[in-house]
């Protein structure tokens, strides 16, 4: 046996885990009352009963704003500990942080060039090819009464 002994607790835990899962499901199957109800089949069994699908689409630009938030958030995460022990890191730390901030800045420029801060009338996205076959009619699924615009 020898080396196999050390596997025994893992094996026992595995068996216990399977038994517990099987027992819980089995017992609730056997003893639990069955009263099906429409509300129980709903996605969330709480809150207001949904009457129709969520009708609004929101512009993908919100994600770009979120991206701007994320990159600066990450920058702060790294700047903070650097600032705390600035004295000990010395010139090495300063250079590293400048390089890091440079990388973050390039990604910020990239986002701005991609139209993250353009809030005027819709402009064609830069980075991917245009999609001539794609129109509002083909891409937007109208929801709500009689296919009208749900506002």
């Amino acid at each position: 046996m020898g080396s196999l002994d050390s596997y025994l607790p893992i094996f026992v835990l595995l068996v216990l885990g399977v038994l517990f899962a099987a027992l819980s499901i089995g017992v609730s199957r056997l003893l639990g009352p069955r009263r099906p109800h429409a509300a129980k089949g709903a996605p969330y069994e709480c809150g207001i009963v949904p009457t129709n699908e969520l009708p609004r689409r929101f512009p993908v630009r919100f994600y770009l704003i979120a991206m701007i938030f994320v990159i600066f958030d990450i920058e702060i995460i790294f700047l903070f500990p650097w600032a705390v022990i600035y004295d000990q890191l010395g010139r090495f730390g300063l250079v590293e942080v400048i390089v890091f901030a440079g990388a973050v800045f390039v990604s910020f420029i990239y986002l701005v060039a991609d139209g993250a801060l353009d809030w005027g009338p819709a402009r064609r996205a830069r980075s991917f090819g245009s999609e001539p076959g794609r129109t509002t009619e083909s891409a937007v699924r109208r929801v709500g009464a009689a296919g009208g615009r749900a506002e």
Binding site: S6, P9, I85, S127, E131
Partner: protein
């Protein structure tokens, strides 16, 4: 002073960083910033060829830096830097060279695809370079935490690239599936690191190795559980059965050149770390983990080969064949010898070029839209484009392990390493699976050279759902296939490496032999 000064560690030692040792990675990441900066600063969209050229230049610079490092390591010996968490040894530099080569070929092939699909922008190239730097870091990482970070740098761009064809639902599905399973396997991997750290008191690989060599752990349950989780994490990344479930869907759904890149790069990076962690760090515990790798290798070999037989979709078939290849690389790991490591490293080199080339051909045959991947699309390919058919035949036969290709030597060396380590049964399993694999490679080759048209009765009797949708897909396309110059160049490189080093094997073999660990 600030109120946080109390949080600062008392004596902070800044590790010495040898920047020349990290030059290949730094070139790639600096190149990414240049690419992104150029794309942001130019008012008009540049053609994809400009970015491809820049990427090739960046990767070539990384290749030159890697070769310089290789010379340094061979002349002055291996060393570590950044507080022993980065290894610069033959093994690491070997993979730096390989990854640079993969990036060059992938950029050339990818530009053809992007031009055909009308996708402009630098994103594809930037993501590829970031991912490549992750693979490089993974090969030279000497610390479990570092390996984890490198693994994420390698994987996250690949998740995005898998979903690059964002108009095709299967591509989106591939990205989500790869992301969820990749994140899951990373979590398993980190848990493994935590347990190994708990058992040995270090995340540094040589320190772990030294600890295990000098101490006998009487209750080693935690350590073994940690090692088991590390095996699971790595097996997910390199797609070993039974952790391969994501592979066929992701390989099929991702844009075809991305699939080739992903297969070559993720396998190279994943296996580089896998080999270093297990062969160089845990050799004292081989009695515990070697049987597990044995079983994984056998399952991967047989599972990949047999399931590939049943595939009608060529991308899916190549996905299972890549699983089969992972099994072969695992054989080299299972041997736990220097020969085994060299054999695995050779296999990864040979495989990278074969798979990049194969998926480039599949991308060409897939035509605009990247959808024509049924086996029937290959019927009579030789008549439509004889050169392309010949190239694909060579690449498939190399994958099958036919002599005078690198594929043959790759299979030969892992099996020899396995026999050398007295794993005769595994060697037999490997040869059997290679024999099975020949069938599905040859089936494609025969289809390409078949002059017989598809049975017209088929179309009439089996109309697909929704008014013959399947029948229209299956109909043989006619006319010549357009092979763009960049893809032709990429294919020439892939086939060149595969055949030249198959006929004249010595340089690559010597190169592999010198790819050894610093700590062993």
């Amino acid at each position: 002073m600030t109120p946080f000064a109390a949080l600062a560690p008392a004596g902070l030692a800044i590790p010495h960083i040898d920047y020349t040792a990290l030059l290949p990675e730094l070139i790639l990441l600096g190149g990414v910033l240049v690419l992104i900066g150029v794309s942001a600063m130019t008012p008009r969209r540049l053609p994809t060829g400009v970015y491809a050229t820049m990427t090739v230049a960046i990767a070539a610079a990384a290749l030159v830096a890697s070769l310089r490092l290789w010379r340094d390591v061979q002349n002055h010996g291996a060393f570590t830097t950044v507080a022993h968490s980065v290894d610069v040894d033959g093994f690491a530099v070997y993979f730096l060279v390989l990854v640079s080569c993969i990036l060059i070929v992938a950029a050339i092939i990818g530009s053809g695809y992007l031009r055909r699909e009308g996708i402009a922008g630098c994103e594809y190239y930037a993501l590829a370079l970031i991912s490549g730097s992750g693979a490089m870091l993974m090969a030279s990482a000497n610390d479990l935490i570092f390996i984890f970070l490198a693994l994420e740098v390698l994987s996250i761009p690949l998740y995005v690239m898998a979903g690059f064809d964002r108009r095709r639902p299967t591509s989106q599905e591939a990205a989500i599936k790869y992301f969820v399973l990749g994140a899951f396997s990373s979590a398993v991997f980190v848990y493994g690191i935590a347990l190994v750290y708990g058992a040995t008191g270090s995340t540094n690989l040589p320190e772990i190795g030294a600890f295990l060599a000098h101490n006998v752990i009487t209750a080693n349950g935690v350590l073994l559980a940690g090692i088991a989780l590390l095996i699971v994490g790595f097996s997910f990344k390199v797609a070993a059965v039974p952790f391969h479930m994501w592979t066929p869907d992701v390989y099929q759904g991702a844009p075809t050149p991305v699939t080739g890149f992903m297969a070559a790069l993720a396998k190279a990076g994943g296996f580089a770390a896998f080999l270093r962690v297990f062969v160089a760090t845990f050799p004292t515990l081989r009695g515990d983990w070697q049987p597990v790798i044995w079983a994984l290798a056998a399952l991967t070999l047989v599972g990949g080969a047999i399931v590939a037989l049943a595939q009608r979709d060529v991308k899916r078939m190549l996905a299972y064949s890549s699983i089969n290849h992972a099994g072969f690389v695992l054989i080299g790991l299972q041997a736990v010898t220097t020969k085994g490591v060299a054999a695995s490293a050779y296999y990864l080199f040979a495989y990278a070029f074969m798979v990049l080339g194969s998926f480039a051909v599949v991308g060409v045959v897939g035509a605009k839209g990247d959808r024509r991947h049924d086996l029937e699309a290959y019927r009579g390919l030789a008549a439509r484009n004889p050169v392309l058919a010949t190239v694909f035949s060579v690449l498939l036969l190399a994958q099958a392990g036919v002599p005078f290709t690198t594929g043959f030597f790759a299979k030969f060396y892992v099996i020899a390493a396995s026999v050398g380590a007295h794993s005769y049964a595994l060697a037999v399993v490997a040869m059997a699976s290679a024999a099975i694999a020949v069938f599905f490679y040859l089936r494609v080759v025969l289809l390409m050279y078949s002059t017989q048209p598809a049975d017209p009765g088929d179309e009439a009797t089996t109309p697909g759902p929704a008014g013959g949708g399947v029948a229209t897909l299956v109909r043989i396309p006619v006319g010549r296939l357009v092979v763009q110059p960049s893809i032709a160049l990429g294919l020439a490189v892939s086939v060149g490496v595969t055949v030249v080093f198959g006929v004249w094997p010595q340089p690559l073999i010597d190169f592999t032999r010198a790819a050894t660990f610093i700590f062993h």
